[in-house]
């Protein structure tokens, strides 16, 4: 009878252990593919691991010691959010934990009082408010289809969620672009070298703190792609294919579209959430009596 909590726990532990490896690998492949798109050879696939490894060997430099606290909290709550997700927890709770972790990153950037990290923090906040409505609509949409906010129930429902939520899925891809720090929405900090505010939120982090931020980012990759999986959960093979295609699409967009201003970021994200997201949910709401059991 009590198999379920055990499975949840095992899943959570597996996530904590394996996610950074998978996330780092994705980051490596990302860099390789990006390089090929730009006509370069690119670094080895394992380069992200070498980078982070080296960061942990660096001298421990800070502007203020509180940075340690904020970065550690960012990492810890990112792990908590992801672990909750993979243990099949409540989707809304996962989203709130996810927001909490990002607020810690923003606070860490504010703490240093450098103009670059300050603007980075403001922009990171703008990004958070740009994607938050859409990510909530994603959870709500999944509830409307499967009658549950629980990730485990959503993934086991066997319903082809994507057919009911095509608009929400497109909206979620925008969230993905923002969250993976891909151009045109890489305002607060970017994987690319060309950034008008140096390294934005991460400007004043170095050494092990920067390493932790990278690792948190790997956890984040796995969680975000896990949500993509939910849309196609009825068919695991299709789901993995969808993740690969979605990610490839993100890299393509990243390399073909130039960065936009925050105003346009906010407006386009909200416009998509407000139209595609809400219209999709509204139609679903209207049809609920007709096509759903």
């Amino acid at each position: 009878m009590n198999a379920e909590p055990v499975i949840s726990l095992v899943n959570a532990v597996l996530f904590v252990l394996i996610a950074p490896l998978v996330g780092g690998l994705i980051a490596g492949i990302d860099r390789k593919v990006t390089a090929r798109m730009q006509g370069r050879v690119g670094p080895p696939v394992l380069q992200p691991f070498y980078d982070v490894g080296k960061l942990f060997e660096k001298e421990n430099m800070v502007v203020t010691v509180t940075q340690h606290f904020y970065v550690l909290s960012y990492l810890v709550f990112m792990v908590v959010a992801g672990a909750l997700f993979f243990s099949g927890g409540d989707m809304l709770l996962v989203i709130f934990a996810f927001t909490l972790s990002h607020i810690f990153l923003v606070l860490g950037a504010y703490a240093s009082y450098s103009p670059y990290s300050h603007i980075g923090a403001e922009r990171e906040l703008i990004q958070i408010i740009a994607y938050e409505p859409m990510i909530i609509f994603t959870a709500v949409g999944m509830y409307m289809v499967t009658q549950s906010f629980n990730v485990s129930a959503i993934v086991n429902s066997g319903i082809p969620i994507i057919l009911y939520l095509p608009g929400v899925f497109i909206g979620y891809l925008i969230v993905l672009t923002i969250k993976l720090r891909k151009s045109p929405f890489d305002l607060s900090t970017s994987h690319h070298a060309h950034q008008e505010i140096v390294k934005g939120v991460t400007t004043d982090f170095s050494g092990s703190n920067l390493g932790k931020i990278e690792i948190a980012h790997w956890y984040e990759y796995v969680f975000l792609l896990g949500v993509v999986y939910l849309f196609f959960g009825f068919n695991p093979v299709l789901a993995v294919a969808a993740i690969i295609i979605a990610y490839f699409l993100e890299i393509l967009i990243d390399n073909t579209i130039s960065r936009v201003k925050w105003q346009l970021t906010l407006r386009s994200a909200w416009l998509i959430a407000g139209t595609l997201g809400i219209v999709n949910l509204g139609v679903l709401y209207y049809l609920k009596g007709v096509i759903m059991p």
Binding site: V63, H68, L93, I103, A111, V198, D204, I278, Y285
Partner: protein, 633 residues
């Protein structure tokens, strides 16, 4: 029954004492009576929490007559002030209300004998706890604050006797509102709170304060007129007077109850400062900070939402209820937006209050059982976190002489303890796993099953993200570490610290105790009314508690990092920097670095957004009025 009478009567006695004593003796009396009120409300909780609804038969006649006389005297007083300050709109309203009241008392209700005039249920207990604990803590805080206030503002005449008199009358009236089962009595206490806030807002007697006081008064009188109209309607519909009892009215069904319910909810909307009436609460911040704390957390606006939540079962699944909910939801969205554009700390807090009250009304207006659960949660969490924040801002203002958020940079260095408390208070307002987010979460899960709930979810999603934005950037401001600043918080008084510590502990404590509050107070109350109840699942409770514990442990990681880090100056783009905050500008001048937050005036400018909100909400209220007229005819 004596405990209820004590809570209503004792503050009145203390209030009268306040007119006589001053300084040291006043301090002692206030602290002791705050303790007494806190203990009495705790006693109420312990004795009655498992007793469901208890009615108290208390004779109607003499009390009602005394109330009527007081009401008329107050009306004359307001009339005098209105003519003196040439506020003819207020004069017109008070004349109208007094006229209606005389008509009601003289013509309609002679010979009725409502029996159960006082009552107590779990919701009243919750409200009494909020008033008795948070309200009296604010009174204690006010002692020190007002002393500093008068040494700083020597131009303002010291009217502290009147000030503390009104504070305690206010508490008494609030207890009266939440314990009365007789609508006539609720109305009496309701009007007392209006007058109290009028006097407190106008405390400094500057032209601005006087104007804002009259603004608050006239808006609340507008609600008062609606309330009187509801009483007259009830008196005409039911000459026996049974329906004056709140519980009979609520259980009498849609046909009888909807007209008074909507009228009283309109009064609630004015009192809770929803749009289009939000301007009075924003104007009220000219008052000394403890007054703002009192108005925003435990009294006044809470009376407004209290009554609307009471009527939620009547409003549930009606068009009228839906419209009221929509007014609340629009207020939540737009007030959250306006808060982004404000740099005045008290104004941000004011708009955040208005937004949260809007959310509470949105929940109550839709009125299903799980939304009522959310509404009560929101009332509790908001009261604690908001009072803490107001008192922190008040303390900061007393020390640094500014309530502008831009001047609070580096507060974590200058006033570390206060900054930590503000941090916790703000976390309580918008971060998981603290109270307000638990409520937001529950609200989404509840709206999704309600008819047309999708509209509210959409509003909640956008409004929620506004909320994240304005709190985070304020948090960022206070925690940014600027060196070479001195600590200036050692002059803050002992009793102020005590109050702030207790409130901070409550913000965290109530989140930890929330499962108990839900199980023993809110759920039985919902069960009584709807026959079904709700709550978070055990698993989610456990996860939340774990998250809170994790959050409490995290700061200890700082101990681990205390040594071993090399300090460098913030990155300045390679500019030559001198000291910490200066860099060499053009022509060899040294310029000081200053950073400021985004306010997005263009998108969330106060005037523009408020204008939109006023139009929308007046439109909605007009529609509600037309529907109501249809029902009456």
């Amino acid at each position: 029954m004596n405990d209820l009478l004590f809570l209503i009567g004792f503050p009145v006695i203390i209030a009268l004492l306040m007119l006589l004593v001053k300084d040291k003796i006043r301090n002692y009396i206030v602290i002791i009576s705050a303790l007494a009120l806190g203990i009495a409300s705790l006693y109420l909780l312990i004795t009655y929490f498992n007793k469901n609804t208890v009615f108290f038969d208390i004779s109607f006649e003499p009390a009602t007559n005394i109330m009527f006389i007081i009401e008329i005297l107050l009306a004359v007083y307001i009339l005098y002030l209105g003519i003196k300050f040439k506020k003819y709109f207020t004069v017109a309203l008070i004349l109208l209300q007094a006229g209606l009241l005389v008509f009601l008392e003289m013509g309609l209700i002679s010979g009725i004998h409502p029996v159960n005039n006082l009552f107590l249920d779990q919701f009243s207990i919750i409200m009494a706890m909020i008033i008795g604990v948070i309200g009296s803590l604010i009174c204690v805080y006010a002692l020190g604050y007002m002393e500093t206030y008068h040494t700083r503002h020597t131009d303002i005449k010291d009217r502290r006797k009147l000030f503390f008199f009104i504070l305690f009358i206010f508490l008494s009236a609030m207890f009266g509102v939440v314990f009365s089962n007789n609508l006539m009595w609720i109305f009496f206490f309701w009007e007392i709170t209006t007058i109290c806030s009028f006097v407190l807002i106008g405390y400094s007697r500057t032209p601005e304060a006087t104007n804002n006081a009259f603004l608050a008064l006239s808006m609340n009188l507008l609600g008062g007129v609606a309330f009187t109209a509801a009483l007259i309607y009830i008196a005409i519909m039911d000459p026996s007077g049974r329906l004056f009892e709140l519980d009979s009215l609520i259980s009498s069904g849609y046909a009888l109850a909807i007209v008074p319910a909507v009228l009283i909810c309109f009064a609630g909307i004015t009192k809770a400062a929803l749009m289009p009436f939000s301007s009075w609460l924003v104007g009220a911040m000219v008052a000394p900070t403890p007054v703002s704390a009192l108005l925003h957390s435990s009294t006044m606006v809470k009376a407004g939402v209290y009554i609307i939540v009471r009527f939620a079962p009547v409003l549930a699944l009606t068009t009228e209820g839906f419209i009221i909910a929509l007014v609340g939801a629009i207020t939540f969205l737009l007030a959250s937006g306006i808060a982004i554009s404000q740099s005045n700390a008290k104004k941000v807090l004011a708009y955040s209050t208005i937004a949260n009250l809007g959310l509470i009304v949105a929940c109550a207006g839709v009125g299903t059982y799980n939304l009522m659960w959310v509404a009560i949660l929101l009332i509790i969490f908001h009261a604690i976190a908001k009072s803490l924040l107001f008192l922190c801002v008040g303390t900061v203002e007393n020390r640094i002489g500014s309530k502008n958020i831009e001047d609070m940079g580096g507060l974590i260095v200058r006033m570390p303890k206060i900054a930590m408390m503000m941090f916790i208070g703000m976390a309580g307002m918008f971060l998981a796993p603290f109270g307000m987010v638990i409520s937001k979460w529950a609200a989404i899960e509840a709206f999704i099953t309600a008819p047309y709930g999708l509209i509210f979810i959409a509003i909640l999603a956008f409004g929620g993200s506004f909320t994240v934005f304005y709190w985070s950037k304020w948090m960022g401001k206070i925690i940014s570490v600027m060196r070479h600043q001195e600590v200036v918080e050692d002059t803050v008084k002992k009793e102020k610290w005590a109050v702030l510590y207790i409130l901070t502990a409550l913000v965290v404590g109530v989140c930890l105790a929330f499962p108990l509050i839900s199980t023993y107070l809110i759920e039985p109350f919902i069960m009584n009314i709807y026959g079904v109840t709700t709550g978070l699942s055990q698993a989610n409770f456990a996860i939340m508690i774990m998250m809170i514990c994790l959050l409490l442990i995290m700061p200890f990681s700082m101990l681990f990092y205390r040594t071993g880090s090399k300090h460098v100056s913030p990155y300045m783009g390679g500019r030559t920097t001198e000291g910490e905050m200066k860099f060499s500008g053009t022509f060899g001048t040294m310029r000081e670095l200053s950073l400021s937050n985004y306010y997005m005036e263009k998108y969330f400018g106060e005037d523009k957004v408020f204008y939109i909100g006023t139009l929308l909400c007046w439109g909605l209220l007009l529609i509600a009025g037309i529907i109501l007229a249809g029902v009456i005819l």
